[in-house]
């Protein structure tokens, strides 16, 4: 009997493994998914691997080496659909902070022999290298959104994903607005929904791990943050974390640090 289930491949580039783990964290659904699809390549889970082509490739991680830049082109060629998951794959991840550093400064700070490394000076999202069919933001991604995306891919429909901001999730959950009530620095107004307004529900300002929402206006938010007493350096750091490689956040961080770095930004 031939196996007619769709084939799924999971690929890792520079990343922490957390977004693939999110798939395994769907404990109630994992065996059902593994029945509905055939995991043809998923090294974190299986020593068995089948060559492509694959119906769906799920890609985690950013491109930081020449070899990985070559490998992602191969993955694209062997995949009918390719989706990227997480801040590393969609924006370059926290490791994209190197993009604004002087060449070699990072490797030299960590490794005694930078010449042993074959690392690029930049960390870039998958979409900078190959065509991507769908990007799922988050650091880490939401398990619910991942299940929706996989289900939609298998059904051949568009996934229902929010494009609005964390602000609306707080309103829906009835969470008191921290910036308004306490002056807490919060990226909720410019950050894509998906977490359910998690940090504000824990008395913590949003730190933007889902990256920018559609139509985000970080400049207006920055003016508000500065008026409320956040320093320029603090605001710059707030925008320069896991999604610094997304220009909506990255350009704002660069604008905030420009005077101090004396035009050192690209």
């Amino acid at each position: 009997m031939t196996d007619e289930r769709p084939t799924v491949a999971v690929w890792k580039f520079a990343s922490c493994d957390g977004c693939q783990l999110t798939l395994l964290d769907c404990e109630d659904e994992f065996l059902a998914i593994a029945g509905a699809v055939r995991f043809a390549h998923f090294p974190e889970v299986s020593r068995a691997s089948v060559d492509g082509p694959y119906d769906l490739s799920i890609v985690e991680g950013s491109i930081t080496t020449e070899e990985d830049a070559r490998r992602i082109r191969e993955v694209r060629t062997s995949s009918r659909r390719l989706i990227t998951v997480g801040a590393c794959a969609t924006a370059g991840g926290i490791q994209a902070l190197r993009n604004s550093a002087a060449d070699g400064a990072y490797a030299g700070a960590v490794y005694a022999h930078p010449e042993y490394l074959s690392s690029l000076g930049t960390s870039t999202p998958i979409a900078a290298h190959v065509a991507v069919d769908l990007e799922l933001q988050g650091c880490p991604i939401s398990a619910g959104q991942l299940l929706e995306v996989i289900t939609a891919e298998l059904a051949g429909r568009r996934p229902v994903l929010p494009s609005h901001s964390v602000c609306q999730e707080c309103k829906a959950a009835g969470t008191v607005c921290l910036p308004v009530s306490r002056g807490t620095a919060c990226l909720g107004p410019v950050t894509r929904a998906g977490c359910g307004g998690l940090c504000p529900s824990l008395d913590r300002g949003c730190f933007g791990c889902f990256g920018p929402s559609v139509g985000a206006n970080p400049r207006a938010l920055t003016e508000h943050l500065l008026e409320e007493g956040t320093t320029r350096a603090e605001a710059a750091r707030l925008f320069a974390t896991f999604n610094v490689g997304n220009p909506v956040f990255g350009d704002q961080a660069a604008a905030l640090s420009a005077p101090e770095r004396q035009g050192g930004q690209p």
Binding site: K12, F13, A14, S15, C16, D17, G18, C19, Q20, L21, T22, L24, D25, E27, D28, L31, A34, F42, P43, E44, V45, S46, R47, A48, S49, T64, T65, D68, G93, I94, Q95, L97, R98, A105, Y106, A107, A109, V110, Y111, A112, H113, Y116, L117, S119, S123, C139, P140, C195, L198, C199, S201, L202, D203, R204, F207, C209, E234, R237, T241, F242
Partner: protein, 434 residues
């Protein structure tokens, strides 16, 4: 893959699987003797120590969590301990208890993942847990249920399972509601029983007859099994603070690895993780875990690396029992975090990640910005010992056909649950016979 003929044989497998991250391993055999072994880590480096410079120390728990999605709590706990050491903050016992509960959640999640999804399939001849589930769905479901309970603990205390958001230097943003914590008791009782069933299950596996010679290094708990704090001790008499230990660990950058190789005093290899913790702290296990260890036939020290799965299962019992104790004794810390005053200083923090000792050291300026960072993950410390294990396991298994020897060598690496994402942050296997 096999190449060569006569006394020169090459076995090469690309892509060691069921580990976290990317690397390769190679065994060279000449005339029936294992000549050279190398665990190569080619996971692309992410330069965390460099990107932390100039960041606020308050950001260290969230940024370093991104080193590893499997053990983010370990990074958060070691980062908090190091920063608090640098600025002289002491947290109260309620914060410590809540941190320990969060850490128990990560141990349960990570150990259940490793035992059921990554390691057990090796002993049962399955490519993966999906194939295992076709034979014994109840076992795999038990593992997934355990994992889910670990995640539930992390979600309740930390806000979410991967990269929790509730941890801060000094404690927590918000103390979890007592009713939410109390609701963990039922799932944790069931998890403890499932963990006991896990010990019986894995104790019945067939283990290759290999004994390692290890210098064990682990934290020594203060009356309890070590997790979030303790002095660094070893099987040959070391007993130092985290800072004292960091002073004595020398890391070497070798061409084949983007993980640095750590040695004690610049020369001694050592092993951290479940085997080490158990050897140095078996007397501190909760009673239910100690009994489970005895019933599984574990002596006071286990040096068969393949039996690490049994020790890990015993630790799973311990983490469930400990979490249950903490849940029943929960008192919300008020305030949820100790106040932190920034000042210049250097601090070190060491905690027990599920796969071994993890230490961080930070230098801070008087505004609380990081001037230097050093992060030494368990797999960097274990890498040389894993290579020594590979040599022993390959030598003991030379009579095996190529495919079985290759599988066993992969297993020798998985025995130590390496987190290569951490250490360099994949593995492909090459066995060369000459």
């Amino acid at each position: 893959m096999t190449h060569g003929s006569g006394s020169h044989r090459t076995i090469a497998v690309e892509g060691l699987s069921r580990v976290e991250g990317e690397g390769s391993l190679r065994v060279d055999v000449r005339d029936g003797v294992v000549e050279d072994v190398a665990l190569t880590i080619f996971e692309p480096p992410r330069f965390f120590e460099a990107l932390l410079q100039g960041r606020a120390a308050a950001e260290a728990p969230d940024i370093t969590a991104r080193i590893c999605g499997i053990c983010p709590v370990a990074y958060q706990m070691s980062a908090c301990a190091a920063v608090e050491d640098a600025v002289g903050v002491r947290v109260g016992h309620r914060v410590t208890a809540l941190r320990r509960l969060l850490y128990c959640g990560e141990w349960i999640q990570s150990h259940a993942l490793h035992i059921y999804l990554l390691h057990a399939p090796d002993f049962l001849g399955c490519a993966d847990a999906v194939e295992l589930a076709e034979r014994d769905r109840a076992a795999v479901q038990r593992g997934l249920d355990l994992k889910k309970t670990g995640n539930l603990v992390m979600e309740t205390v930390g806000g979410r399972a991967v990269h929790p958001v509730n941890v801060k230097v000094g404690g927590f943003y918000r103390a979890p509601d007592p009713a939410d914590v109390a609701a963990l008791a039922g799932p944790l009782e069931r998890a403890r029983d499932a963990a006991l069933a896990t010990v019986s299950w894995v104790a019945g596996f067939d283990f290759p007859d290999v004994e390692g010679e290890y210098r064990f290094v682990a934290l020594r708990g203060d009356g309890r099994y070590p997790m979030e704090s303790g002095r660094v001790t070893s099987s040959d008499g070391l007993d130092v603070t985290a800072g004292g230990f960091a002073d004595r660990v020398v890391e070497e950058h070798v061409a084949r690895s983007t993980a640095l190789h750590a040695r004690l005093d610049g020369r001694l290899e050592y092993l951290t993780g479940p085997l080490a913790r158990y050897a140095l702290n078996a007397d501190q296990l909760p009673e239910v875990a100690r009994r489970a260890a005895a019933d599984a036939g574990l002596g006071p020290v286990c040096t068969n690396p393949f039996r690490s799965i049994v020790v890990r299962a015993v630790e799973l019992v311990a983490a469930c029992a400990e979490a249950l104790r903490l849940v029943l004794a929960y008192e919300p810390p008020d305030p949820p975090a100790a106040p932190v005053g920034w000042r210049a200083g250097v601090g070190t923090g060491a905690t027990e990640a599920p796969r071994g000792l993890l230490f961080h050291r930070y230098g801070l300026d008087d505004a609380g910005l990081i001037t230097s960072a050093r992060i030494v993950p368990p797999t960097s410390q274990n890498q040389l010992t894993i290579e020594a294990d590979l040599r022993r396991v390959a030598q003991a298994g030379l009579a095996l056909p190529d495919d079985q020897l290759t599988w066993r060598c992969e297993q020798a690496v998985r025995n130590h649950d390496p987190c290569i994402s951490c250490a360099a942050h994949f593995l492909d296997v090459t066995v060369v016979h000459r």
